[in-house]
Subunit: 580 residues, 2 copies
């Protein structure tokens, strides 16, 4: 080793030791006859010191070292005269007896500090320098810890990690596949998996009753800030289980990760039906770090000649505790917020509960004190509260109010990143109707089992059929989702019919799975977690970018290696393709 | 859970318990008024029993159950009258009180037994049934254990597992890349990584001084029996280390895996230079489970008018202990063996050491007793030994003799699959000359560092320059290989020159890496292990196929899912390509 200790290892108990450290020059200060240099590695920072009087050659050399030079330093651990108790190595320094410059460095394009001066694009191009920053490295260390602890937990429960193939077959369902032209089979293509779904189900048919995999998946979608073309899942499947077994097993995983990685004890997860989540939070992934549940007002607001409410399918609101004193400006901000195109409300009705308990609303001319008192009761509102109400088509209004609720939660400081509120959302609908294409889509995926008690409705009112499907939600983010699967060829075939697959398409795409179901498929179900998302949540970040070592930008480009890029004509010809 | 116990859990200590098991019908026997069924799951086999007299409905139902039906069985654990002490559950059976058929099964196309009647193609098409076989499942369980133990060891040494990207950039060096057309950047392509080489080096530049990853890699090569287009590596890199540190760290990994997975204590690995390996075994991956070293004979065989030896660049042989009594037929087999085109020798000279110590050779007319005695001395041959000699061009002859040596080792039973003999092969040449294209190739890869003491030869006799490169070899198989890397832009640039890259090509392909080297790259090196190969070695298999859940065939096809396959014209158009 080119060191006896790391830059984070030495402390007051090492005084007098002869040591060698290696690392990067973080900072250098010349104070009279002394030069102090902070040497950094992954483990910390150690100060080294040179004295012009004692060794001017060495000290002069030290003064030539630029930021990010790589050095190997030998010397004696001594006590610092001016201690820095904020870092573990802050009581000591190394009095240098020899130093070797292992490599020089150009001046880096931005500061290698927690608070850097580099913009996003510059840091992306020099990602290898951005990764030197403490805050970025810590995220990847956390990711490693998450993966290790996940595997530890799963292994302890007899789950086997099985690697499923990356070069698979394109399926038309859902998002777009990335494809790979085959040189050995010109004109044919592999696809990269959007998930190992069919393979994990085949493993259940094979009798591997407990499978998991931390696995890269691929989706060729237009990217948003928090989407990446390649992403990582914790993919899991179990046989001979009910939904309850799956919920318990993976609630256990979550609790284990909370404890092992974050040091947090989490109690039993609340469970909420999809119907309740939509009714009470307007979202299938409610943020329950704070309460502020929806209150429906149709029965107390209609028939008072306020046309907006009278015409609305749904009038629904939330009560923001302690916001009665909001200024006109603050209220206008909220009105602007709900009117933004991505929210889409046409207006906002509000009512302040005044100190004396009376209400002052923006629609006082339609509602008298008695009417407003009914509102207050509905919301259990107290003096000082602000009631915020939206109205319109039910689905759209719930969605808009959900956004407003989250906005109010943020304004009220109720969404701290270091507070975690997980829950299960259950009983998702099996299908969703696609108005545009006049057909059903699978809400989860086509292999999801309807609830046994709802199967009879498949032929009559399929849209009402609930699935044995569940999501794990933490802080308003869907961390994982899964379902009990169909394991019967006829029911699977019925599902493909409902989803508008012709027999031929179904056979071409999923024939191998349906064939497999004829050879003794066991009851099974599973779940998949968005690993990047979960890491970013635990790292208390907004985006998944910084828990990924080499992420791509919103155009799917890696600007550091400049990829994608053109390939040669010979290569294209060998692959049997040409560009348009 | 649809069971209280697995099919491997119950034994004599559970007598009297009311239990539920679930699994597959392995075998069914009707004996008079009794029906016995073996129910199988991943964990074992449990016998269940039905009695026609006690419950004829249940017993009649039992007699309708076909092989591979999935059943859930409730009953009481009782002692068997006729015990099978070969299996842990063999002393008990379950007297069935209720049985539910969870799923039926068609008759499987081959027997789900260790020794199956299914041919390779049939088993590939129904891989999900092949995976039900005990012997196949055990391989994947071993693979899981290998991965878990690898991660445990690496984590304990502060290595961080970092996921590097799968969608990267095509490089012209080495084997062919698989490419992925970009929909968002028409005309451009990602490539799938042949290894994360450049990324792991960038991570070293980033200060992640200990990186590893168990990672899928991809090579679009014509496939041999033991190659797959997608394969898995244990990829590792360390900074601030010498070659010695890397050898010790990963010898430690190997010892840990031997102990944890195979229960075998392995002592210090022998080390051998590439030059010695070639001279003594004719191979850079010698199988040292047995000795039978090469003995060079030029100085004792030349000048005796035997033209074959006189004309040969090298005369070299091995001594097969105890084979003097080989029949004419056996010797002819060996001659045929070395004359096979893939071996390419023109003939084989042999000499038997007879009981009285005298030699009887196939070239007695050229060599008298005194001359033959010199041979005997060289080989330290004893009565009963058989000396086998090849002659010709040095490289080709060594290669042929290496094959003959392995063949003799096999014939003598010296290559038992449950015996393991690892070693390090060191000091590989940096470059190899490509006669055809009149240029050098990197023996390992273009980032490998020459030995410091050999650098001066780069401009004069580059072919003699040795690299700080090393392979871990077990039982004649290269399990892993790596090198100390170049970490200096000028030296890297010299290497690209030697390898015939123009400045522009080098910049286009590896500019980001050379740029990174200007910002304080630390000394670093690493190694990558063929994970599939290592698992198959530990599973004592010949091919890597059966340690891969869903392998592809020699045409790169997955015959189960029928991939690769055609994709739609719309999809092609969106991707900006068309097929030729």
């Amino acid at each position: 080793m080119l060191r006896t200790h790391t830059c984070g290892a030495l402390n007051i108990s090492d005084l007098g030791k002869e040591v060698i450290i290696s690392g990067w020059v973080q900072k250098s200060r010349d104070l009279g006859g002394m030069t102090f240099i902070d040497v950094r590695d992954r483990y910390g920072i150690t100060q080294i010191v040179f004295n012009m009087e004692e060794n001017d050659t060495l000290c002069k050399l030290a003064r030539t070292l630029g930021r990010e030079y790589v050095v190997q330093v030998a010397g004696t651990v001594i006590e610092r005269s001016s201690k820095n108790l904020k870092i573990p190595t802050g009581e000591i320094e190394i009095k240098v007896s020899a130093i070797e410059v292992l490599n020089e460095s150009k001046v880096p394009p931005f500061m290698i500090e927690d608070e850097t001066d580099g913009g996003e694009e510059l840091r992306a191009k020099y990602r290898y320098l951005d990764l030197r920053r403490n805050v970025v490295r810590k995220n990847l260390e956390l990711r490693h810890r998450m993966a290790q602890e996940t595997r530890k937990y799963m292994d302890s429960l007899n789950f086997i990690e099985v690697e499923t193939p990356v070069l698979i077959k394109s399926t038309p369902e859902g998002a777009r596949d990335f494809v790979v032209p085959s040189r050995m089979n010109n004109g044919e293509f592999y696809a990269l998996p959007q998930s190992p779904q069919t393979f994990k189900q085949l493993l259940m048919v094979s009798g591997f009753d407990r499978y998991f995999q931390i696995v890269k998946c691929f989706r060729d979608e237009d990217l948003r800030a928090d989407r990446q073309p390649e992403f990582t899942q914790i993919d899991c499947e179990m046989a001979f289980v009910t939904q309850e077994d799956i919920l318990n097993t993976f609630e256990g995983l979550a609790k284990h990760l909370f404890k092992a990685v974050k040091g947090i004890d989490i109690h039993e997860f609340p469970r909420m039906t999809y119907a309740d989540a939509m009714r009470l939070y307007g979202s299938d992934k409610p943020d329950i770090r704070f309460d502020m549940k929806f209150v429906e007002l149709n029965d107390v607001v209609k028939g008072k000649d306020f046309k907006v409410f009278d015409d609305a399918e749904l009038v629904v609101g939330v009560c923001a505790k302690g916001c009665a004193e909001y200024t006109r400006k603050q209220l206008d901000e909220l009105i602007d917020f709900v009117k933004r195109p991505q929210i889409g409300a046409t207006g906002l009705v509000y009512a302040r509960v005044q100190a004396d308990g009376t209400l002052k609303s923006s629609v006082d001319k339609f509602y008298d004190e008695a009417a407003l008192n009914l509102w207050k009761e509905k919301f259990a509102a107290e003096p000082g509260d602000l009631i915020l109400i939206l109205a319109g088509k039910a689905d759209k209004t719930r969605k808009a109010l959900s956004e407003l609720r989250l906005e109010m939660g943020s304004r009220l400081g109720l969404r701290a990143k270091n507070v975690f509120a997980p829950l299960w959302v259950l009983d998702f609908p099996l299908l969703e109707w696609d108005e545009e294409n006049n057909r059903y889509h699978a809400m989860h995926h086509p292999f999801t089992s309807p609830k046994p008690e709802d199967i009879s409705m498949l032929k009559t009112n399929a849209g009402d059929v609930r699935a044995n499907a569940y999501d794990m939600v933490i802080n308003g983010t869907e961390i994982g989702g899964g379902s009990i699967r169909i394991f019967n060829k006829e029911l699977q075939s019925t599902m493909f019919d409902l989803l508008g697959f012709s027999k031929e398409e179904a056979q071409k795409q999923f024939g191998f799975l349906m064939d497999a179901f004829e050879f003794g498929a066991p009851p099974h179900g599973g779940i998949a977690f968005g690993f990047d998302r979960w890491c970013s949540l635990f790292a208390e970040l907004d985006s998944i970018r910084d828990v990924i070592a080499f992420p791509k930008n919103n155009s799917g480009r890696d600007v550091m290696i400049d990829s994608p890029s053109t390939i040669s004509n010979e290569q294209l010809k060998e692959l049997g393709i040409k560009t348009l």
